[in-house]
Symmetry: C2
Subunit: 506 residues, 2 copies
């Protein structure tokens, strides 16, 4: 009875989290301007009730009973794993004082306006006091959550369980050692032709092309939608309703094209979760309080980056689909060869802004932020010294002089919301995508599918090895089961090196 009661409660928690996701999706795609203030209140109420339900005495007593019920089962029994995940989440939330959560939420709610103003005036000094409070509260949060080695480990736990400052160090070193020389070498080469990507691309047609390519790689529109938003995202309300969004620039085709493929990758993950896991712990992030089937932010990003980059920016993809793109844009692409198109969409150009970065330089932006966050949290870097540290890293990694804090340390929205600890997922996603893609490509069926424009074998591989398991296994367990080893940068490094040597004739 305890197990059944516990699962009934988790089902309700999942329903409430999905309701929040629906309200958030609506707010970011459909809601009229006037709705913001009351929508925040609706979300706050749902959020409080969800947490209260999860950590209630009734849930705890159901959990105790459920643990007794499943105690005799083997450790890899689904029931035992589900119960263990509820225990882990309740322990996590129990360690964090409600007052601390409230303080961080309050700080986050005022931060956006402060940051917007500071960024528009490129005035770091006016943002610094807010950031100092954010760092202090997150440090307090880290102490409450607990950690073995580094307080930043505690903050990453919610997004990338198991990842630590210590485990990131060799990974980042290896990536920097591989990427920085590549970027330098490319800087001495002639840039590819690019003009045609900045022609006039009517937005409705961009939508149609994006939708077609998304469906071509396997996104199921019977259980999904593609909408327009300002900051693209994917969100699911169970595997049965998985929505993606993108943004369109009339004079810049790649944003919607690769944005759609990126979110499609996230969407495929959620659509692929085992239906039996719907409304269970394996489809509910009870630590992060988010209804999601993917197991970590990094694992999720591995799927978006895999479809965006390993599939979507590959020469073979355009050998098979450039004629499709030309159907939609016959004039804009009429004088372009597939070779030119492929080179253009893979152009490398160091810049200041993370969200505009190309595939090769993106990880440098991420590593910079992760290292800086960790240093702020352990106190080795003071907020007042942040712009200097930031600008020095940009110079070291990209050879650029940051012209203003607006284009430097003030560019990201993340810190204004009170949140610290989530940047590393992007790079982990890239590394994991490289590792999964290397293994998958060794399968002759998958390789021949990719060569011939049939993406079903690759998607099937991901469903079998990653998607279907939902949150049952940890990221590294999934990696070991699929590739034989935990996170390993070598396939990704090899992929980047080979690809850019070819494109830029290095």
């Amino acid at each position: 009875m305890g197990y059944a009661r516990l699962m009934e409660t988790v089902g309700r928690v999942n329903d409430l989290l999905n309701a929040q996701s629906i309200l958030n999706w609506d707010a970011r795609t459909m809601m009229p301007h006037g709705g913001h203030e009351t929508r925040s209140k609706q979300l706050a109420t749902l959020s409080v009730l969800t947490r209260d339900l999860l950590v209630s005495d009734a849930t705890r007593s159901a959990l105790d009973a459920a643990e007794a019920e499943v105690a005799s089962k083997s450790d890899d029994a689904v029931e035992k794993q589900m119960v263990a995940q509820v225990r882990e989440a309740i322990d996590y939330h129990s360690r964090i004082p409600a007052d601390l959560t409230r303080q961080r939420a309050e700080l986050g709610s005022i931060g956006h306006a402060i940051w917007m103003k500071a960024r528009s005036e490129s005035d770091f000094a006016s943002f610094a006091p807010h950031l100092e409070k954010t760092v202090a509260l997150n440090r307090e949060m880290a102490e409450a959550i607990g950690y073995s080695e580094h307080p930043y480990d505690a903050l990453m736990y919610r997004f990338e369980p198991g990842e630590t400052v210590a485990s990131l160090k060799p990974l980042f070193n290896r990536l920097r050692e591989a990427i920085i020389p590549l970027v330098r070498a490319i800087g001495e080469k002639q840039p590819p032709r690019f003009d045609f990507l900045e022609r006039d691309y009517p937005i409705e047609t961009q939508y149609e092309l994006g939708r077609r390519l998304s469906a071509a790689v396997g996104y199921d529109f019977e259980r999904g939608r593609l909408d327009t938003t300002v900051h693209p995202f994917e969100v699911s309300f169970t595997r049965n309703d998985v929505r993606i969004t993108t943004r369109y620039y009339r004079n810049y085709l790649p944003a919607s094209l690769f944005g759609t493929l990126h979110e499609t990758g996230h969407g495929l993950y959620e659509q692929g979760v085992d239906p039996a896991y719907t409304r269970t712990p394996f489809a509910t992030d009870m630590v992060g309080l988010y209804a999601v089937g993917g197991v970590s932010f990094g694992a999720h990003e591995s799927q978006s980056r895999l479809w965006e980059n390993h599939v979507g920016r590959a020469r073979a993809f355009w050998d098979n689909n450039f004629d499709v793109a030309k159907e939609y844009f016959p004039e804009q692409l009429g004088d372009v060869s597939v070779e030119e198109f492929w080179r253009a969409i893979n152009r490398v150009r160091p810049g200041f802004i993370r969200v505009e970065a190309d595939e090769l330089t993106y990880d440098l932006h991420i590593m910079l932020r992760t290292d800086i966050e960790a240093a702020l949290i352990d106190g080795s870097l003071k907020v007042k010294d942040l712009p200097e540290a930031w600008n020095a890293k940009i110079k070291e990694y990209l050879g650029l002089e940051v012209p203003s804090d607006a284009k430097g340390v003030l560019q990201d929205v993340h810190w204004s919301s009170g949140q610290i600890g989530t940047f590393c997922n992007y790079t982990i996603g890239n590394v994991m995508a490289g590792q999964l893609f290397e293994t998958a490509s060794k399968d002759p069926g998958i390789a021949s599918g990719l060569a011939n424009g049939d993406y079903e074998p690759l998607r099937h591989f991901m469903v079998e090895n990653i998607h279907q398991h939902g949150r049952r296994y940890s990221r590294d367990t999934l990696l070991v089961r699929t590739t034989g080893r935990t996170l390993d940068p070598e396939p990704y490094v090899a992929y980047l090196t080979k690809k850019y040597q070819e494109i830029y004739s290095l």
Copy 2:
């Protein structure tokens, strides 16, 4: 403290009800096909938690404390009225056994499929057992809720508080006595030209025209949206986010045109509620468990019918707006005079189907259903005798022989959902619209506005007299304050008589 705690709880109840409304809106406008099953579970969870929160011990103790706090205030003090409405709702829910609510919900959840099949096969006998259970459960519900005279009164209470079978009798008699002879007389006249309303009207252009007319009468798109759906509706998530929907037929212009104006009328009501009432009892139907600012379903319908019919089907409206319509449809309306257009949109043609009925015959469909529901509930009509009773009324009211139960007693979805008691609101809305419009039109500013295409004076009158009050006053209190008397059919009868005498030269 009790009052503040109580209002905090009502605010949360309002948030949860609005969340349900958002999930319902999404399900009816945006959700991909695959999402239905899990969406039902999400809604069920929200529904249970909302009711649990409203009737919880904590809420009851806050209510007791709040009553003591406001006891010394005058009866028309806002605080006292708000507290009284919470008490009324909690008493209402306390009288209904949870098991009865569950049984009715379960019956409703299986009814749709049974009804769909029965209707498609025009087989009343296969629907009759379900309807018998529905009637029996609703009778039980009526006994639990309580009533003075007629059990149907208890069922109407949730939708039209204060309305009774006894109060409806003279109202319905007066309407039948006025409408049936008008319909007969019109039947002997030449029908107006109608062909041009069935030309090819591209849907995107219908949308644009509907949006323009909706904005012209004052609907605020900064706090609203217009979307497409199967069964048009309006829904609000506080006054700050009020959404309307319509449906489009490519070869039939009036559906979207007057559907949009109808839902606009509902939307204006919600957009006009006093901002100070947001998230309070005056914007929360705690009996019906629905987040709404309008005070009864009939009062709400008075606003939709007022803008659809009294404004939108008036000659003056088209004297001012026919050129606008011709901008959008120059070819389709090129050979049409405003006189012809106005006559066509007011065509009277008795038919079997309620949702296709014109303004004049609509109330006959409603009265038929209301009388039949009341008779089913008090046992004077047996389910097995229902088709015969239905067909006899259609013959009496409209002079038509019902050809099949699919076009007769099986046409409406309502009974399949387990719900009985809501039909009368449509006719009450018409009557109330007639009464309000008569009073408003006596204002020279309003009259001249309507003559000249300025709808702000009329909208302002409705905001001042009806909308802003939200659920503070009862429907009849609003009527007395605005028109000097309770519900009175004479203005509506006079309006119908004058209008159709003119159109059909009776």
